[in-house]
Symmetry: C2
Subunit: 458 residues, 2 copies
């Protein structure tokens, strides 16, 4: 006798948490749906790393490398290694010393390993940090506008209000941060922290200069703000031209630094970390590290970072001698070349239009993203049309603006693609853009593209 397949009762979306109808959250569904419906479209929307760096056979080697490290270098017994691989473990993770060494070697940031919490990706880092800092209903987090969607989503889930600060060509300026903090305070609310991606920001592409970093630190100190520094891309900068993280320049201890191995190792592992060396004083005078408080919060979210994921990332760090710069030399070259290919493609396709001021794009110093500004509305409707008609995907920039904006901008990504795909993607994009500006351009490549998976159904 088999029971029937279970079918649940009907609920109303309006009875579920409002974050579920936040445009930020809905945008993620929409992008996934479009990508699934047009599998043959070139994903200039995908911010994931390039698959060519990944080899499944390596995973078992890395597991073994880490276990050997535990035994031979850390002196753990076989029983202790077993426990570390299989059991609930230290809430703040067990690769914190390797992470601290890597930060010191590659970025010059020297922190006590105990101030590091290893988490399930940078996303959990944002969640625990916002949760710790936003204590009262009047607490707000300041964010750049445009802002990384993961930060907006974490705040939305927790019901924490964000206040956007418009980024100009120089990114988030210290002047604007000060002005916004004062305005928020004047309105009776408490600005707790300002969120920033200092290197190759997603989506704006901006990288802060040394002077901008120093000025932001001074602004945060003067306004009593903490800085949530999110640095997923810094390790992919050319080491010769890399600015230190804000945290390494931070003389007043205001920076909480979030990192991840998603781009330098691989995202499926889900390993990130937060450096939080602030001292927390209890009402009884007790002192703890903010990292301990964040670990406590994570104990009620994920309990631990997967021991297997930590072991594989730990294996990568051990194998590289805690020098990701060396291990990543090929990735660094690859992504820089891809960005150059994307920028060249844009110049080749749109050079005349750019010179006439019809459209424009930024020229980031590195990272995965370029923002293209066009003289028409680039929304979900156009994205669907573009996927169907021209076989290329991109991301509407409006998703990234907490207070509206970006309606005429497209985010283009070059990280997941081979150079030929980037060139072809830009060529397809150019057809769509020309059609929007001047009508269908049949001379440029014959009949418009149609997705093969859908063509058969016509």
């Amino acid at each position: 006798m088999t029971s029937p397949v279970s079918v649940g009762r009907e609920l109303r979306l309006a009875d579920l948490h409002p974050a579920l109808t936040d445009p930020v959250m809905e945008s993620a569904i929409f992008l996934n749906e479009v990508a699934a419906r047009y599998p043959e479209a070139i994903p200039l929307a995908a911010g994931r790393p390039y698959d060519g760096f990944h080899d499944p056979a390596e995973l078992t080697d890395l597991l073994v490398t880490y276990q050997r490290h535990l035994g031979e270098e850390r002196g753990l017994s076989r029983a202790e290694i077993t426990r570390q691989m299989f059991q609930y473990g230290r809430t703040a993770g067990h690769i914190h010393e390797l992470v601290a060494q890597t930060l010191a070697n590659d970025t010059g940031l020297r922190v006590a390993p105990e101030s590091i919490v290893v988490l399930t990706g940078a996303q959990e880092g944002m969640l625990v940090t916002v949760r710790a800092l936003a204590a009262r209903p009047d607490d707000v987090i300041l964010v750049p506008s445009p802002c990384y969607i993961g930060m907006l989503g974490a705040a939305s889930l927790l019901g924490v209000p964000v206040v956007g600060i418009a980024e100009g060509p120089d990114g988030l300026t210290a002047t604007d941060v000060v002005a916004t903090a004062r305005r928020v305070r004047a309105a009776g609310r408490r600005p707790r922290a300002v969120y920033v991606v200092p290197n190759f920001s997603n989506p704006s592409g901006h990288t802060m200069t040394r002077a901008e970093r120093v000025a932001l630190l001074a602004a945060a100190e003067s306004e009593g703000l903490l800085i949530i520094e999110d640095d997923p891309y810094g390790f992919l900068a050319d080491p010769a031209y890399r600015e230190p993280p804000l945290k390494a320049l931070d003389r007043s201890g205001v920076v909480i630094h979030i990192g991840t191995f998603a781009k330098t190792c691989f995202p499926g592992a889900r390993v990130g970390y937060v450096v939080a060396d602030q001292i927390v004083r209890g009402p009884d005078g007790s002192r703890s590290c903010l990292a301990d408080q964040l670990a406590l919060i994570r104990s009620m979210i994920t309990v631990n970072t997967s021991s297997l994921a930590q072991a594989v990332i730990g294996g990568m760090l051990v194998r590289s001698g805690c020098r990701l710069d060396t291990a990543n030399a090929e990735r660094i070259r690859f992504y820089r070349a891809n960005l150059a290919t994307l920028l060249e493609g844009l110049e080749q396709q749109f050079g005349p239009e750019r010179r006439r001021g019809v459209l424009s794009w930024n020229v980031p110093a590195g990272g995965f993203f370029v923002v293209l500004t066009v003289p028409f509305v680039a929304d979900e409707r156009l994205l669907t049309y573009c996927a169907d008609r021209y076989g290329v995907l991109w991301t509407p920039m409006s998703y990234f603006y907490p207070d509206g904006g970006g309606g005429h901008q497209l985010r283009l990504s070059c990280s997941a693609l081979a150079p030929d795909q980037i060139r072809e993607g830009v060529r397809r994009l150019a057809q769509m853009v020309r059609e929007q500006i001047i009508g269908p351009d049949v001379s440029a490549g014959g009949a418009p593209y149609r997705d093969p998976a859908r063509r058969s159904g016509l």
Copy 2:
């Protein structure tokens, strides 16, 4: 030139989120601290699985088993396997079909794989479920009292109020659930769901009879409540005597079922799941599955469950033919024998006192925990004393009561220990209990125990 080690500024605990000073959260710190200070004490507090079932060499085999399954049985290409192992993946996970098959084989619960969200342990399952359901400030979740700490912590982090329902000898009764839901509603608040651990509840040890399950389902339906069924221990019941999950008896679709591989496979993986087949209707009449909404929430918490962790658990499911009952036969025997050893030890040490009504304990049908009720206060102070003086750890039951209570109860766990350790742990515990009742009992075993790690410092 090396920069100095970073030191953060001072913050006030009172300025951080109130969950950090919730007694539930502080209890976790305290228990960890005591366990760390007394490493030689026998941990009758530890609810983790027994390490004897874990072999690090197995992990690489499981990774390979799963990858072979993807290639040979699912027909994935090498590139697709690489993507699944390394990249961001399907938000709801990629072992959902294996999980669905295992639930069907072992518990009789048949669900569509698309209604399963694979998450970072059952803990993330509780978090996303509570987040989805608690939409308004007046929404509350009903919980048994005593209640599993992870559920209380998740609600606390999200600022969602819980209302405790006292468990009697028959666990959480339908009558009490109905009465509480009506009382909550009369007070102008909205009871959204009732949380329950139907098998070998942590901490009460209660297992619901078939009649109790059916009655609870009817109560939930009549009161418009959902049921959050958390079932970490059901797979460890003797299959011949196991009741079906509430979800398998659920004719009205009110149950959201949370499961985990922490006890059947291993906790370090951090793989759990939620079955949420309720239909969510949007204001425009659109229909989605609650699982999709939970996946959306998780996309802002952890993004994905680690691909490595899913692969290893997937490998275990593949290897067992999606029959954990068969794979776990030895574990099932072991834990049942351990519980018998703990209960025998209590009878041996405390039989006379029990018969005189001085103290008592429950006799669970299975699971990891027994609750001992004593005629003195069993608090953190006594736990520290007991660890130091008698070398045995237990858990104060007061941690589990959301509205106070449990001051005279100890939770004893037998899952992580070998039988000899359980017997010795109970012997040490008995010395402490006798001392509390009638003063030090020097005849029972000579001088009281002192922790060797501390003795040297005397």
